[in-house]
């Protein structure tokens, strides 16, 4: 009989144990195990900083900058959440949706509008006001309806990369400066035969930034715009039409490397590195990679060719490592201190030098003494022109690029006329930018 009672208690104990385990598993699974919100008992605040920058910098260099920040601000620690660009983007998109963004976030200008619309990132204008921050030192700020949501920390420009040896071999004596010269040079390089072509045009629709870097860059280089003064699409303008017609003329002339319709940016870089392509529009950030993979490649960077009669300043496409603060952060003041640190003259110059980019602080001077001379050349090009990227700050900018990309592919394959394609793109963009 006693055995029965013991069995009952035993089973109850077992049952309670199992249920406690289940509750614990559930608690861990739903992530409700803690509630410290990044503040420890001694008042030290730990900021989470999600970005894709650390993996692209020399190993350990970004951690060292964060250590410097902590040394200056002993009550603030930084936990870096580093990953590749694409996974960082996905992480931030889901974080924005669930209001669980890390305190400080690395931003691309293409994401800002959507995150701001969701209320996921904080108004930096207010934070700058609270911190009495002098924003006049900032080279640029990305604003939506007059409020700053992103500050570009480092800018990477996209000049024209030219393979000197291929051009010389093809009988081209100087890098092209106008569209006519470019077409001519591309034809001559393509005439060398083998697998060599004059230019590479990556139009992969999975990551359609080729529209921004390799197509619209021709428009901006000639001072053109794809938007009206009030921010509406202006794709049927003569300038945009001329740009698309020019790209088609290059494609029809057979000077574009084959496989353009699904070519990715890394394929473009690879083809230039291996000498299969004479000229590409590419990020300065790739200079180190190109030289590492092919130390013997003799190349230079020049401004993007403009329309033959154009004499004004040339727009040069750029991409940024931008920074923002999560609207849901409990430590916005501390988060902005980190922003201030990264935008300070000394740190910004240091970071730009490490990243081979151009500083977001106007007073910061990158140190070119140990860099490749091409960076200095590019800095001159950057200063002679103006940074141009009209996709920055636009809502659903990747979607806009993709819809334009699809229409451009129809034009290149002869399935649509330039006018029809631009008309459809205009219609598609208008529904987003209305």
């Amino acid at each position: 009989m006693t055995g029965g009672g013991t069995g009952l208690h035993g089973r109850l104990r077992q049952l309670l144990g199992v249920m406690a385990t289940a509750a614990l598993v559930g608690a861990v699974a739903v992530g409700c195990g803690g509630s410290d919100e990044g503040t420890s008992a001694d008042g030290t605040v730990t900021l989470e900083f999600a970005q894709w920058w650390a993996p692209e910098l020399p190993a350990g260099s970004f951690d060292k900058l964060m250590s410097d920040f902590t040394a200056q601000n002993p009550t603030i620690k930084v936990k870096l959440l580093s990953g590749p660009y694409a996974s960082t983007k996905q992480q931030l998109v889901t974080g924005a949706a669930s209001r669980t963004l890390p305190d400080v976030v690395g931003l691309d200008g293409a994401w800002v509008s959507d995150f701001a619309k969701q209320g996921a990132i904080a108004d930096l204008t207010a934070l700058m006001g609270d911190a009495k921050y002098d924003s006049s030192q900032l080279a640029s700020q990305i604003q939506i309806k007059g409020k700053t949501y992103m500050i570009p920390v480092v800018n990477f420009v996209y000049p024209l990369f030219v393979n000197n040896d291929l051009l010389t071999k093809a009988g081209v004596t100087k890098p092209p400066s106008t569209r006519t010269e470019f077409l001519d040079a591309a034809k001559k390089v393509s005439a060398l035969g083998g697998n060599v072509k004059g230019w590479a045009l990556p139009l992969d629709t999975a990551v359609p930034n080729g529209v921004q870097n390799d197509v619209m860059s021709w428009l901006w280089a000639s001072g053109g715009s794809m938007l009206t003064q009030d921010g509406k699409p202006d794709l049927t303008s003569q300038q945009v039409k001329s740009t698309v017609e020019y790209v088609k003329s290059l494609y029809d002339a057979g000077v574009v490397a084959p496989g353009a319709l699904t070519m990715k940016e890394q394929d473009k870089v690879e083809k230039f590195t291996t000498g299969q392509v004479g000229m590409v529009i590419d990020s300065l950030a790739h200079i180190t990679l190109i030289k590492k993979n092919n130390p013997k490649l003799n190349f230079t960077v020049v401004p993007l060719p403009a329309e033959d009669a154009y004499t004004g300043k040339r727009g040069i496409p750029y991409a940024s490592w931008g920074i923002g603060v999560a609207a849901s952060s409990k430590h916005k003041a501390e988060a902005f201190k980190l922003v201030q640190f990264l935008m300070s003259q000394q740190t910004n110059a240091q970071l730009s030098t490490l990243a081979n980019g151009f500083p977001g602080n106007k007073t910061a001077e990158p140190d070119f003494s140990t860099s490749d001379p091409l960076f200095k050349t590019a800095f001159e090009i950057y200063k002679a022109g103006y940074p141009a990227n009209e996709f920055v700050g636009l809502p659903k900018s990747e979607d806009l690029m993709r819809s334009f990309d699809e229409q451009l592919q129809l034009v290149l394959t002869g399935k649509a006329t330039v006018d029809d394609a631009l008309g459809k793109s205009q219609e598609s963009w208008a529904s987003v930018l209305s």
């Binding site: 009952l8 139009l203 629709t205 699809e406």
Partner: protein, 320 residues
């Protein structure tokens, strides 16, 4: 022969039962006993995980599919079936549905045929043990690669100036190479080929296991009856493998319909949307257009289509 003793199945003495379930307990309490609840206690960790990791996300996606501006707006509004109407009338979705159908059916049929062919080759008594082992390793290699590696390998191989075109133009007599993945006429077939290459070894291994389980007596009996090799294949091998083949085919239909990474890393749905599948369409709706409502509607449609396949799979398993 002495019949087996069934003492372990005998009911416990009435007094012992009475001690564990007191008869004096009120009616409602009587039903809830430690013995009755214990199985649920043991199951509860799994049930909690299933609830948190499956039921909640699926319920959320279903609820999103009925809302407009979900996620991107703080206060999304109920939109009824508008998202479903929008998705089902979107030419891109219909194209993705068609492409998915071709991609899935061709992949599954090819997986079956190739898997069966290679499995029979590895099961043949005509080859020696060492030869079979070598080929077994060679054939299984594609299955060991991750999707990212497969995508990179085939992007390089099928590049306009890649190995495949080099062979075709130098040894194959072709004048110009083919833009396998960027020509709208060939992209879907090239992508399907890559998927077939990556997936057939799993079929091969599973079918090989099935072949090795077929009794040699059946073949001997058929041979005695005068059946030819083809007749033995048709009347012994296929019927014996039928459960394996059907299960594998249904599972492959489900798995292939969920293929995303390979498509995204090779063609991204292009060129001109000819390789757009339901998975890439849904992803673009969510993470490019930020249309989480239509993305959810598309995901629910995919879920329903997959559930039909899953239903057949479960029914087949029950029949077995």
């Amino acid at each position: 022969m002495e019949p087996a003793k069934l003492d372990h199945a005998a009911p416990p003495p009435a007094a012992e039962v009475a001690s564990e379930i007191p008869a004096a307990l009120p009616g409602g309490m009587r039903r809830f006993s430690a013995r009755g609840a214990a199985p649920y206690g043991y199951l509860s960790p799994t049930m909690v995980l299933i609830f948190v990791l499956m039921v909640i996300p699926i319920a959320m996606v279903v609820s999103y599919s009925f809302k407009d501006n979900v996620i991107v707006e703080q206060n999304p509004v109920f939109a009824g079936l508008a998202n479903y109407t929008k998705v089902l009338t979107d030419p891109d979705f219909l194209a993705a549905l068609k492409n998915s159908f071709i991609f899935i059916t061709v992949s599954t049929v090819a997986h079956l045929l190739l898997g069966l062919g290679f499995a029979m080759m590895l099961n043949t008594p005509l080859l020696g043990g060492v030869t079979k082992a070598v080929f077994r390793i060679i054939y299984i290699l594609p299955w060991l690669f991750t999707v990212a590696v497969i995508a990179v390998i085939w992007r390089l191989m099928l590049d306009p100036s890649g190995v495949v075109n080099y062979i075709l133009t130098t040894a194959g007599g072709m004048r110009d190479g083919v833009d396998w993945l960027s020509d709208p006429a060939t992209a879907l077939w090239a992508l399907t080929f890559i998927n077939i290459w990556a997936g057939f070894p799993f079929f091969m291994i599973s079918i090989l296991a099935g072949l090795q389980g077929i009794s040699a007596d059946l073949y001997e009996a058929a041979a005695v009856d005068g059946a030819t090799a083809f007749q033995r294949f048709l009347n012994v091998t296929i019927p014996q493998l039928r459960p394996v083949l059907i299960s594998m085919a249904v599972l492959d239909l489900i798995w292939t319909s969920q293929q995303f990474a390979l498509i995204w890393m090779t063609t991204g749905g292009g060129p001109l949307n000819v390789t757009e599948m339901l998975s890439t369409y849904t992803y673009k709706q969510a993470f490019s257009s930020y249309e989480f409502g239509t993305a959810s509607a598309s995901a629910v449609i995919v879920l329903l289509l997959t559930m039909i396949l899953a239903f057949f799979y479960v029914r087949l398993q029950k029949e077995r």
